[in-house]
Subunit: 446 residues, 2 copies
């Protein structure tokens, strides 16, 4: 007895598939996709008999993984990539980044910078980013134009920038933008108090209310530097995480970024409250902030995702680099070569991040019912050979340059390493203009 094949939009078959949930690697399987969602994951032969796809993609030497999720970035800062290097956080922020932002930041800056970041992230297999910056309407327009999924920050801090005058102004503007994008399933929002050292108790209280009313995650830098801890002790007579606990901020909605300068008590606090951590190892080292104790966090059951931070402090928006570095650092710091094995690292860059953003039912794994946010990594080049374990290769051998295809909600955003439908010259021209104006100011500073 034969049944009529079912019409579907897209069938992708792949040499390997790392589903993440469940944590298995499938050989010669296919993903059936319809209306932007994963319909089934099944052996390729069976899939070809059962489905009649509009389009079919065959990935002979590839591993198909869930689209990577960048749990912390400031996308538009890509325009300041490498503007000031080899400097500690506070010098870097106060004498280079903040003055450059004061002089240049605008909706156009954010639109162009976020487009540049989206181009880089998509080509590197990232399908979703959690952003903290200004002019979120411009970031939303850029992400939407490039077909990316984004969680944008409704950023808050107490001092004025070209975007807003005070914390209430930041929040009100961000909430207005959120209203406008409510209809778009790929654009979501987090409340984003910048950091304990730039946000007042009153603002944190308003953010807590908003988070509960609107069910929004809270995205906040925490315990990045020793300086931040010392400042908090001086001003608030307690360390930042104790203050945030007092203010009721910690919990499953809370994403603490960095968590480098952190003690045992604070790790337990994060674990007990079900708070999430965004680990940004390159940025932490480049700014000499230190080493986050990630293996210990995972042992305590803290949900940890990975972030690139901005291209001004990294200087790549490259989760392959962060996966490899997180894996190496965990082994070096614990003295245990089995710490954070490859499968767990992949989960951090996908499902853990999805869970932190409250999107665990929607993205983060290749599971029927979820959105088809997928990334194909070519393991066929000479540099990848031989291959005994494709997930080990993904973390230890592959780089973002191996990403060949990316889909977001079933739509192809990277096709054979290029961005279909994107006018690259237009983007290059915009970036060149910003480089010129930033360079003029930079030369005047040196």
């Amino acid at each position: 007895m034969t049944t009529t094949p079912q019409n579907i939009d897209l069938l992708i078959d792949s040499r390997w598939i790392a589903a993440v949930d469940p944590d298995i690697v499938l050989n010669n399987h296919a993903v059936a996709i319809d209306n932007g969602r994963i319909l089934a994951v099944l052996p390729t032969g069976e899939a070809r008999a059962r489905f009649n796809p509009d389009k079919q993609v065959s990935l002979a030497d590839h591993i198909l993984i869930p689209g990577l999720i960048n749990l912390h970035t400031h996308a538009a800062m890509s325009l300041m990539r490498g503007l000031a290097d080899d400097l500690p956080l506070m010098d870097w922020l106060q004498n280079h980044i903040w003055p450059a932002e004061a002089a240049h930041m605008s909706a156009q800056f954010v639109y162009d910078g976020t487009r540049l970041a989206c181009a880089e992230m998509l080509k590197g297999g990232i399908t979703c980013f959690n952003d903290m910056y200004f002019f979120p309407e411009a970031a939303a327009a850029a992400a939407s134009e490039y077909g990316m999924r984004a969680m944008l920050g409704i950023t808050a801090l107490e001092f004025p920038t070209p975007y807003a005058s005070d914390a209430d102004d930041y929040l009100n503007k961000g909430l207005t933008v959120r209203e406008k994008w409510l209809h778009n399933p790929q654009i979501g929002f987090c409340l984003a108090p910048h950091a304990p050292y730039t946000v007042s108790d009153a603002t944190f209280e308003r953010i807590l209310t908003l988070s509960e009313q609107l069910n929004l995650p809270v995205h906040c830098h925490i315990h990045e530097t020793r300086h931040e801890i010392d400042e908090s002790l001086r001003r608030y007579k307690c360390r930042p995480l104790d203050r945030l606990r007092e203010l009721g901020q910690l919990g499953p909605n809370f994403i603490g970024v960095h968590a480098v300068q952190i003690n045992e008590h604070e790790l337990k606090l994060l674990a007990e409250t079900g708070s999430n951590v965004a680990h940004c190892p390159s940025s932490n080292l480049k700014l000499a902030s230190g080493f986050a104790p990630v293996a210990q966090m995972r042992q305590l059951g803290i949900n940890v995702g990975l972030g690139t931070d901005s291209a001004a402090s990294n200087n790549r928006l490259d989760l392959f680099g962060e996966m490899r570095l997180a894996s190496l650092l965990a082994k070096g710091l614990t003295g245990d070569a089995s710490a954070l094995p490859a499968h767990e690292i992949l989960r951090m860059a996908t499902l853990n991040a999805a869970n932190a953003l409250g999107l665990g039912q929607e993205i983060g794994s290749i599971t029927p019912g979820k959105s088809a946010d997928l990334c194909a990594v070519d393991l066929g080049s000479m540099e990848m050979r031989p291959c005994f374990d494709p997930v080990s290769h993904l973390i230890n051998v592959a780089g973002r340059e191996c990403v060949s295809h990316v889909w977001v909600a079933g739509k192809c955003c990277v096709d054979h390493k290029t961005l279909p439908g994107i006018d690259q010259n237009h983007l290059e021209s915009a970036v060149a203009l910003w480089q010129n104006s930033l360079e003029v100011r930079r030369q005047a500073c040196i």
Copy 2:
């Protein structure tokens, strides 16, 4: 008055040139090359008037740097890339790598594995590697076929392998191979006692004599793990470096690999004797050996180069990755974001390594009179933009995938990211056969 242009083999003009010695970045300059050597470095316009090149290459968006030098690898082990991961050094060596070598190692294995390594290294901008393995005649044939420069190990250890029966047998075989290759200016040799824990005092003594007679560098693993230190204390009643000093091994001819488990006294010993260090950060972390105190070494004036170690413990032969990681780790470990700035990292991967190998007059910088060992890195892709400082971008943004051209002694070994004259299918088939036999054994072990 006009003069007749001088006929030369090759003129390469480039948007930027990082000469390394002197430590300057030139804009829109050209390198004139004749008979495999650098004749002049001068402004492009001037070069076009002065020279009449057989061949001309224009690199509009590139930085031209000296070919990178991999100061420590076991090239042929590329065939065991990712064979066993997430394991500590001794378990990894004793239960996985050494048994696999005992079962498979042969001249053919070394020839095929070294070809694979050369393909990977060349495409990643590496023009010279310092190797420690077996069957050096097979490695020499492979390196020579691919046009690479190599310093091959006259390896010594006390236990038998498929290559040799005891230390004297290893040394005698290696010395015979050296005699055969004396005529080849691109193939040199180091004496390579494997490590203090695998080599006896008597063998170290013979090596010292040979090193002095033949003026050969000595290439040896040192202070990689705590286990190695403990073993030495038990067997020799002293730590390995104290033993090596007693044996007269330390000095400007000595290249100590890893130097992770090292104290202040030992750092001073390396500095006072003018010994060199090969820093292999990825391997040290992946095997959970620890963090080498490189910033401290540099402050003491120790000459430090960079190595990938083997693809079995890295799992990439990628000096761009090692440069970036060495830079990040130095900042994180010292808490000083200005530690090991980009220019110094580039010097470690080029001139410092050349000096360690006794080749400082021949390679390691873009200096008239030296061999034309060069690497062109394309900074023009969207992921590299904007670019305010090309040397910062080289370390912090670029990856090996940006390497477009490589020359060794003026001969083009990578042309637009491909290896001219190399039969890639032939290499792929050989690697696939080895993968099959290794896989059969691996499955039997699991």
